[in-house]
């Protein structure tokens, strides 16, 4: 039962890949609990950087901004993306293929191109950059992700369930609310989680489209580290953001597992 050389090399290679991916993250997490300010030397466990974080008004404002944008983006793109998906699956309209392709574009093109095009658009139309321009940018691109996820769910939907509802006396709106929507919920929740995470973590688009005075968490982290201030407070902040994202990923995985 000894492993062949090939298997051993394969195992070693895999270990390196995982190490490369996760060691930096783990280090960030560990050092967010470090007592001393020096990086690379763990002198004792402490929550003091989290306390510093809690006392930092700039961080709190940025956190509120991130949350504000992410929540509104999620709600609006969920509504519009779901309507688009429902319409594309159910309605018999011309040019479906073209509309479908257009809705996929934001997923495919590089984010830097999205960001630049948004910025140019805002400049041309004379918008003042800030909360609204960041929000609109997030919504415009998250609609596509919601659309793709909800559409997949609706495409696998047994149409006769809706027809059964109609024959039992429910009109189209009642049928949508009582049958289609509840049964599409796993897809819609998954879409919501994806939209929220994408918006909450977004850096490039936000950096391009924000104006003076409006900062989100990723922007704070970037500006602080760019100034050479990679300190333990930043480790703590990153750990908090990771915790939020991973909780959402966990809920998402849990929901998709239950479906099966």
């Amino acid at each position: 039962m000894s492993m062949s050389l090939r298997d051993k090399l394969m195992g070693l290679y895999s270990a390196f890949v995982y190490a490369f991916l996760y060691v930096p993250i783990i280090i960030v997490i560990i050092f967010s609990f470090n007592e001393s300010r020096t990086l690379g030397q763990f002198t004792g466990f402490s929550l003091k950087w989290y306390q510093v974080l809690l006392g930092d008004k700039v961080v709190w404002v940025a956190f509120y901004n991130s949350l504000n944008v992410a929540v509104i983006t999620t709600l609006v793109s969920l509504f519009l993306g779901t309507l688009a998906a429902y319409g594309m699956v159910r309605l018999d309209i011309g040019g479906k293929g073209a509309i479908d392709s257009l809705l996929y574009v934001p997923i495919i093109i590089p984010e830097i191109a999205e960001a630049l095009s948004l910025l140019l658009f805002y400049k041309f139309s004379g918008y003042d950059l800030g909360w609204l321009t960041v929000l609109l940018g997030h919504i415009a691109f998250d609609i596509s992700f919601v659309y793709v996820v909800v559409r997949a769910r609706l495409a696998g939907f047994d149409r006769s369930l809706e027809e059964a509802s109609l024959t039992l006396g429910a009109n189209e709106v009642q049928t949508f609310l009582k049958i289609t929507l509840p049964l599409s919920m796993p897809g819609i929740i998954a879409a919501a989680l994806i939209a929220f995470t994408l918006s909450f973590d977004d850096f490039i688009k936000t950096a391009f489209t924000t104006g003076p005075g409006f900062q989100t968490l990723p922007l704070i982290i970037w500006s602080q580290s760019a100034r050479g201030g990679v300190g333990p407070e930043l480790n703590a902040l990153t750990t908090v953001i990771m915790a939020i994202s991973m909780t959402i990923a966990y809920i998402y995985a849990k929901l998709t597992m239950e479906k099966q």
Binding site: D158, S160, E163, L166, T167, L168, G169, A170, L183
Partner: protein, 369 residues
């Protein structure tokens, strides 16, 4: 109030519950319904029978309002409903794959139509329990289960209860037994018939299974390529098929082609005497059921007698299926196991077969090619 009662009284006098008048439905180039005329009576168990793709389900969906006909009129209880959506028609429907709502319990599924009609909660409870009782599902055991926790047969019963609980004028059933295995299917056939007798609702039943249609129906419409080939009782469509398609699709039949002259058809293996009022000199096809053919001594004295050779015998317990070669024509004969000569039949040996003129299921004119 008086007006209402009067209106209801008039409605209940309508003899035809469902009338399809000149229905045409096209899907692209395919004509799914080709000028269909059907009248379905009150309290009738009516089957739409045809092979898959014949357009029988389309007709059912047109009655339900799930499809709109391109031409023609749909009348329910004497009222033109052609342009009404399903939820404004007084119908119930059982779908092919049942379409029970997976996120609701059995109780909620059945209560769905009643809640939409704003019945008071205690009335809903009573009606749901009555409906479960009708389909023999004790509510103590089943009401709170989810559809996924039921067997195929039980899901079937819930689907029927859900469709009947609102007391529709017509219950539409789209091959609901298709997904069940043979034993349960046979049982459910009798159950459906019992339920229909109990509630007295008009049933319109779509199936491709001639056995189901013959067992359950008061009348059958045989559908072929979007057209109605024949409407009749099971006896009529089996014993007196009006077209070759019906003779072939319902039950089994041997077909002999030939030219009709003076009450006899000149076939490749000999002259077959028939009863027919088709004009002499026409090319026709004779259909003959395997169980109508007699063998051995019992064939003596028949109008049509032939000497053949047994090519194959298939033993089926109650009956022997004997394939007999008459020259180059193969004839299928059903010999009852109780026939005195049944045990003496051997493959490769000679056999005498015979039948009377008039025993044939029908003589059909062949269209000129």
């Amino acid at each position: 109030m008086e007006m209402m009662e009067k209106a209801e009284y008039i409605t209940s006098e309508v003899e035809d519950m469902v009338v399809l008048r000149n229905i045409v439905k096209r899907f692209g180039k395919v004509v799914a319904s080709d000028h269909v005329n059907i009248e379905i009576k009150r309290n009738e168990f009516f089957s739409l029978l045809g092979p898959s793709g014949s357009g029988k389900t389309t007709l059912l969906r047109i009655i339900a309002g799930l499809e709109k006909p391109d031409e023609g009129v749909v009348i329910l209880e004497g009222k033109d409903v052609t342009n009404l959506p399903p939820y404004k028609r007084n119908i119930g429907m059982v779908f092919q794959h049942l379409a029970l709502f997976p996120h609701m319990t059995v109780f909620e599924n059945i209560a769905y139509g009643l809640r939409l009609r704003k019945f008071p909660e205690d009335e809903i409870k009573k009606r749901v329990y009555d409906a479960l009782e009708l389909v023999k599902m004790p509510h103590e055991m089943f009401a709170e289960r989810k559809p996924s926790q039921l067997s195929g047969g039980q899901q079937q019963r819930v689907a029927i209860a859900r469709a009947l609980v609102t007391q529709p004028a017509v219950l539409l059933l789209d091959e609901p037994l298709g997904a069940l295995d043979l034993k349960i299917r046979q049982h459910m056939m009798l159950e459906l018939k019992r339920i229909q007798r109990t509630v007295g609702t008009t049933f319109v039943y779509v199936t491709h299974d001639q056995g189901e249609a013959l067992v359950m129906s008061d009348r059958i419409a045989v559908i072929h390529e979007g057209r109605v080939e024949q409407v009749g009782t099971p006896y009529e469509v089996y014993e007196k098929p009006r077209t070759k398609f019906v003779a072939n699709f319902i039950g089994e039949a041997n077909f002999f082609e030939g030219v009709l002259r003076n009450g006899a058809v000149e076939t490749s293996f000999g002259v077959v005497k028939v009863v027919s009022d088709i004009q002499s000199g026409k090319k026709v096809v004779v259909s003959l059921r395997p169980e109508r053919i007699r063998v051995g001594k019992t064939a003596e004295g028949a109008d049509n007698k032939f000497e053949g050779k047994i090519r194959e015998i298939v033993y089926k317990g109650d009956v022997l299926i004997v394939m007999v070669a008459l020259d180059d024509t193969e004839v299928k004969v059903n010999v009852p196991a109780t026939h005195p000569e049944a045990r003496k039949l051997r493959e490769g040996e000679a056999i005498r077969i015979g039948w009377d003129s008039g025993d044939e299921a029908g003589v059909f004119e062949l269209e000129a090619e």
